[in-house]
């Protein structure tokens, strides 16, 4: 287990009295060269991402996802890289990176497991699932079991409502949905991940790893045509439509042709 240098949030002491503090390593002197991890391919993708927006700064969130896809977290070098390509200061980029929970400040595992512990999931067992996984992995929120980046390593977090409440309790692995979980199914899932297996999500594409999905979040899709076909049709999602089909319920029929558009309003 690797606890981050910051404040490891131990499990269930109910004692997190202070607002979350932001911890970055002190800024590295500007003159030291950027690590070569941001290679030519990354630089090309950077250009492609910036070109999508009317103003370059809008590319900052995607670019932070991009540097995270390279390093597995947003490092000080990643901050400097974004600052350099967008002509911002590192302070400006840090201020943004620390605001958003998906940018991780310490190296993450091969997989990120996010358990929804918002009220509805929690009432249906989400809290228990989180507690069990935490105990099983020996880590707390945003901590990693195993050597970060190595096969089978897992970063655990509790998440806010994942917009899947009809399938509660839910968790995500690398942001792919595993719906209707139990303590047992979640535990079996995590054990499979640790063994290097990649169980299929309920909704989403076949599992890859956190770095790969961070690239997709940056808007660079290595295999969009393949990934897009991943399942999405959960029975819960389709329930209303299914019931309507069974009972021959329909919306009132539309006219055969679209009706004429209204007249133009009178100019004042």
């Amino acid at each position: 287990m690797t606890a981050p240098e910051g404040q490891p949030e131990s499990v269930g002491n109910g004692n997190d009295q202070f607002p979350d503090e932001v911890e970055w390593e002190p800024a590295v002197p500007e003159q030291s060269p950027l690590t070569p991890v941001f290679d030519e391919a990354t630089r090309q993708r950077t250009v492609e991402i910036i070109a999508r927006y009317p103003q370059s700064r809008s590319a900052l969130l995607p670019l932070l996802h991009l540097v995270q896809s390279v390093e597995g977290y947003v490092s000080q070098d990643g901050i400097r890289y974004c600052a350099e390509v967008l002509e911002l200061t590192t302070a400006e980029v840090s201020a943004v990176a620390t605001f958003y929970t998906m940018y991780k400040r310490t190296p993450c595992g091969e997989h990120l497991v996010s358990v929804c512990t918002n009220t509805l999931c929690a009432a249906l067992g989400g809290d228990e699932i989180y507690r069990t996984l935490s105990r099983r992995l020996g880590v707390g929120h945003e901590e990693t079991a195993g050597e970060p980046g190595t096969p089978g390593s897992i970063t655990l977090e509790h998440a806010e409502c994942l917009a899947a409440c009809d399938l509660a309790p839910v968790l995500q692995v690398n942001y792919e949905y595993f719906d209707n979980q139990t303590v047992e199914s979640a535990q079996a899932l995590v054990e499979a991940l640790q063994r290097g297996e990649r169980p299929l999500p309920t909704r989403g594409a076949a599992l890859t790893d956190l770095k790969t999905v961070e690239m997709e979040l940056a808007g660079i899709f290595p295999d969009l045509a393949g990934a897009v076909a991943g399942n999405s049709a959960a029975p819960e999602t389709l329930r209303g439509a299914q019931l309507a089909a069974e009972r021959h319920w329909v919306a009132p029929a539309m006219p055969d042709m679209p009706p004429a558009l209204p007249d133009l309003p009178e100019k004042r």
Binding site: G14, E236, A241, M254
Partner: protein
């Protein structure tokens, strides 16, 4: 019996479920453009492009469509606020930003929409942009919604390939680019001005209004921000017309709406019904309460809308009905809790959420949510006093209406409504005073209060 008016529209009471937004969801691969086109997709766009942009704004005004993102603002009116013309603000570029940040606890309708039928959103975006004369549109999808992001991005690529996007769309002379943008995990970015700041590459913190986005939105230019479900409703309105749209729902809240049922019901899921349906009707569709355990409390539209109880089964779930009964329609996210769940516990959990998601910009919300959580946790750990209940209400009173944005207001909803309907439960926590020492084990006892069974 079927009644019809002069235009031949069926005006009898609509069926309990009226699939419009969800009408393609059962078709395999409806997210693929070929299937979408077979199912009448992009027909509305072709028709819309034959009209004048202002006619489309009039159409949407006449339909009575109201925003599906929570506040229910009339959509056509919002579009009409965009300054047009060759001079002044009208001369600036205009933008459409689609709010797909879906993060309000309980809300789970936009993500299935984007996965099942992303082209209805894209078609709606193109029609909307044509109406407001925007040549650039951004769809801001919450980062955790990775698979919807793929589906929407793929739909955009397919739409470009078929000439529905890009230069001179279908020979109309209208140009449009759409970018699909992933957020990075912050509920506050669903607030429209915070979303704009986030889209500009900044911390997602709300802006002072006025100026409103209609005049000073993205890059300080005129901008419409609309929810996914709002925009996805537009193609059907073009195809069916405003009178058809109004055959469903209520006078002031017309149309169909996706109601999301979650929690202790037999068959949770997405049910698209005419506006103004009731929880009683929806529960019937969903097979009733799970295992027959009675209903205790529910949210009509996400955690920011004040709680309802079993007394409210027949409240019409439209904007007016929910407000008259003391809550809000919000996002029609019906989170349903049975008798095993402790209200103070649920309220404490939601408060944890608001404290975590408070952006910190204004003092009432930043400090208020922090202290509200402290007090609630103390009560849950059986170290509270009856005076704490008054303190909670007092703090809420100081947050509500004084916070910079609606997140702060929303944070007070579960607390004040929870105390309003279930004060005794809060009092019971206080009378059961234990030793008074620091109760570090209390966390492990909480499951008893929730009735959690995993």
């Amino acid at each position: 019996m079927t009644n019809s008016d002069r235009s031949g529209l069926d005006t009898s009471t609509p069926d309990p479920i009226t699939p419009v937004l969800t009408r393609r969801w059962l078709s395999p691969r409806a997210w693929d453009i070929d299937v979408y086109e077979q199912l009448e997709g992009y027909a509305a766009l072709r028709y819309a492009l034959t009209g004048h942009p202002d006619q489309l704004i009039e159409l949407v005004k006449a339909s009575g469509l109201r925003g599906r993102g929570g506040a229910g603002f009339p959509t056509g009116m919002k579009w009409g606020f965009i300054p047009q013309g060759p001079t002044g603000a009208g001369a600036k570029p205009k933008y459409l930003v689609v709010n797909a940040d879906e993060g309000e606890p309980g809300t789970c309708k936009d993500i299935p929409t984007m996965m099942a039928d992303p082209h209805s959103l894209i078609e709606g975006c193109i029609i909307t942009c044509y109406a407001i004369r925007a040549n650039f549109c951004a769809i801001y999808i919450r980062g955790e919604a990775l698979h919807p992001l793929r589906r929407v991005r793929y739909a955009v690529e397919q739409a470009y390939a078929k000439g529905y996007l890009g230069r001179d769309i279908l020979g109309s002379g209208f140009d449009l680019d759409i970018v699909v943008h992933a957020g990075a995990g912050a509920y506050i970015c669903g607030e429209e001005t915070a979303l704009l700041d986030s889209l500009e590459g900044r911390r997602g913190q709300p802006r002072l209004k006025p100026p409103f986005p209609a005049t000073s939105g993205l890059y300080a230019s005129p901008t419409v921000v609309n929810n996914v479900e709002t925009i996805a409703s537009v193609p059907a309105i073009v195809q069916g017309g405003s009178s058809w749209f109004r055959t469903m729902g209520q006078e002031k809240s017309p149309g169909p709406k996706i109601y999301s049922l979650s929690g202790h019901v037999t068959r949770p899921g997405q049910y698209e019904a005419p506006m103004g349906t009731t929880l009683r009707a929806l529960l019937e569709l969903a097979g009733g309460m799970k295992d027959g355990i009675p209903l205790k409390f529910w949210t009509p539209g996400g955690s920011s809308t004040p709680l309802f109880t079993a007394e409210h089964l027949d409240v019409p779930l439209d904007f007016e009905g929910a407000a008259t009964a003391g809550s809000m329609l919000g996002t029609t996210a019906l989170q349903i809790f049975n008798e095993t769940v402790s209200v103070p516990w649920a309220v404490m959990k939601w408060t944890e959420f608001y404290k975590h998601e408070s952006c910190g910009k204004c003092t009432p919300c930043r400090e208020g949510t922090y202290w509200l959580l402290q007090i609630l946790e103390r009560m849950l750990h059986k170290q509270g006093t009856p005076a704490d209940i008054e303190t909670l209400l007092d703090v809420c009173d100081n947050v509500l209406g004084r916070a910079f944005c609606a997140l702060g207001d929303g944070a007070t909803s579960p607390i004040t409504s929870g105390i309003k309907y279930f004060r005794q439960e809060f009092l019971d926590l206080c009378t059961a005073q234990p030793s008074g020492g620091v109760d570090t084990a209390a966390h492990d006892q909480l499951p008893e209060l929730t009735g959690a069974s995993a």
